[in-house]
């Protein structure tokens, strides 16, 4: 079984966002960058599947973030076999998906996992577009994943009116969310081994075409009033106004 995990690189949740006045966009140089938290769940699950099923596991990142090499080495340290960076400014979901589709078509993957969305754009589009482009079965957000046999997996997935269990034939692409697996921390041995695992930088198929202007930071000063316990009735009135 061949597994591909697609990762994004995003600012840590606790980062304070700042606009770079030169570009009008969010200044990534001042931020701590991490593997997308949902992508990290997907990667952790893929490592579990690899260990139980003797599968091979590749990781691909589309983008040009300065921390790409460090974070791809981290994914190798926690258990991936090889890593790829398709080096191009990643602007739109469609552009990223096009690169992944092109990359995956040249290889043969049975299962492609990634996070249900990135925590910067919150788009959740790439896994859908990759599913369409490769003609794979697609589900998201997948919360449990068990390999039944080399052709078939069982998943637990959120659907609009609750949750559902499906048996899905491979090849498939899933957007993942917790509690699909626990995040993994690299061991010392893993870090040493990662140094000799292959990390390949690939040229992109295309350059981004979407016209983006700029970013803004939204500061919401919500707080209107703090009440004491004895003012509970006033809060009840506010609630009554909002719900009726």
């Amino acid at each position: 079984m061949n597994i591909l995990v697609c990762i994004g690189i995003v600012p840590d949740t606790t980062s304070k966002l700042v606009i770079d006045s030169a570009t009008g966009k969010i200044d990534k140089r001042s931020l701590t960058m991490i593997i997308g938290p949902y992508d990290d769940y997907a990667l952790s699950k893929a490592i579990e599947i690899k260990e139980q099923n003797n599968a091979t596991l590749s990781v691909v990142y589309v983008g040009d973030d300065a921390s790409a090499e460090t974070l791809l080495r981290k994914s190798l340290a926690i258990g991936a076999d090889e890593a790829f960076q398709i080096k191009v400014p990643a602007i739109s979901s469609k552009q990223v998906a096009t690169e992944i589709i092109h990359f995956a078509q040249k290889r043969s993957y049975d299962l492609i996992l990634m996070g249900k969305e990135s925590i910067d754009s919150n788009n959740g589009l790439v896994h859908r577009l990759v599913g369409n482009g490769l003609n794979f079965n697609h589900f998201s957000p997948v919360m449990q994943l068990d390999v039944l046999d080399p052709q078939k997996v069982k998943i637990h997935v959120e659907v609009p009116d609750g949750t559902a269990d499906y048996e899905v034939f491979l090849p498939a692409v899933f957007g993942c969310q917790e509690p699909i697996a626990e995040w993994k921390i690299p061991s010392m041995r893993g870090i040493m081994m990662a140094r000799t695992k292959p990390l390949t930088v690939i040229d992109p198929l295309l350059q981004p075409t979407i016209k983006q202007f700029n970013d803004q930071i939204i500061e919401k000063n919500r707080l209107k009033r703090v009440y004491k316990l004895e003012d509970t009735k006033e809060i009840a009135d506010i609630i009554n106004n909002l719900i009726n």
């Binding site: 589009l125 559902a164 009554n240």
Partner: protein, 285 residues
């Protein structure tokens, strides 16, 4: 002048408040056609060849969708086959630019609207005041989508029992570690029933298995954007805030005035939730 198509669920006979608002805002930019379409099918089945559908929608500058998981599937299908970019979480549309919410509401990105775009509207779309003028947009006739097979074999569907779906809820009541014990959730359930709200919880609560994972709201759980969110005994870790930023009004009940959530709420009440919630139950009509 732009050619604009809006694709809506064929199961609902009236336009949603959001779509009506959007039409009012963008109608001067060009011609708008509203198509009912089998959105649910797009979420559960694989697409077959759809030459007619793709030809039809290849004529538009913008194609708009409301945001739900099935409509995003259809938007992506069109986006995969048409020479159009896709933008999600759209909160504002003007003749020059489209604005999308990013970082769970902490930032926004703007794009040129002078390109062919599939736009998925955010639940936090900045609606303007509706004019009293009646909507004069007739529905175009439904366009059929052809499907091939089901995406997978359904083994079990666990429907939320008469509970309100969290991502779409207008009102949400959430609770956190301040509840002290899972057996104390009775008052939270009563409050949610009284308001007609969906139930939510913070990550530690679902990690402890006090509440099911599908109630977990936050960075790695579900994101909500209700009209009203009442958070009881949730301190407001940044990961939780990331999931609730889109709420219109946030009311926080917490005994700790220093809890981060107090600063990030519209209204906070400092007090023991086991006293505050029963008092609210008495006074909410």
């Amino acid at each position: 002048m732009k050619k604009i198509a809006i694709l809506v669920d064929n199961k609902s006979s009236i336009l949603s408040e959001l779509i009506s608002n959007v039409i009012q805002q963008i109608k001067s930019y060009g011609t708008i056609e509203v198509y009912p379409i089998d959105i649910e099918g797009s979420g559960t089945k694989n697409f077959a060849e759809n030459v007619e559908l793709l030809e039809k929608f290849n004529n538009y500058d913008w194609i708009l969708f409301e945001n739900n998981s099935y409509s995003i599937d259809l938007a992506c299908y069109l986006g995969s086959h048409l020479p159009m970019e896709i933008l999600n979480n759209v909160v504002e549309i003007s003749e020059e630019k489209v604005t999308c919410q990013t970082f769970s509401g902490k930032a926004e990105s703007t794009y040129s609207s002078d390109q062919r775009l599939i736009l998925i509207l955010s639940k936090s779309f900045k609606c303007k005041e509706l004019t009293t003028e009646s909507m004069s947009i007739p529905m175009s006739s439904e366009i059929a989508i052809h499907f091939s097979d089901k995406k997978g074999h359904l083994i079990r569907l666990n429907k939320l029992n008469n509970a309100i779906s969290l991502p779409d809820a207008k009102f949400v009541v959430g609770a956190g570690r301040g509840m002290k014990d899972p057996s104390n959730w009775g008052i939270i359930e009563q409050l949610s029933t009284k308001i007609g709200a969906a139930l939510a919880c913070s990550k530690p609560i679902s990690d402890l298995n006090w509440r099911p994972h599908h109630e977990h709201v936050g960075q790695t759980g579900i994101k909500i954007a209700p009209k009203l969110y009442i958070a009881c005994g949730i301190s407001g870790a940044i990961q939780h805030l990331a999931g609730v930023n889109g709420s219109e009004t946030i009311i926080v009940i917490n005994s700790d005035p220093e809890a981060p959530f107090v600063k990030n709420a519209d209204y906070a009440i400092i007090g023991d939730l086991f006293q505050v919630v029963p008092e609210l139950l008495k006074n909410i009509k």
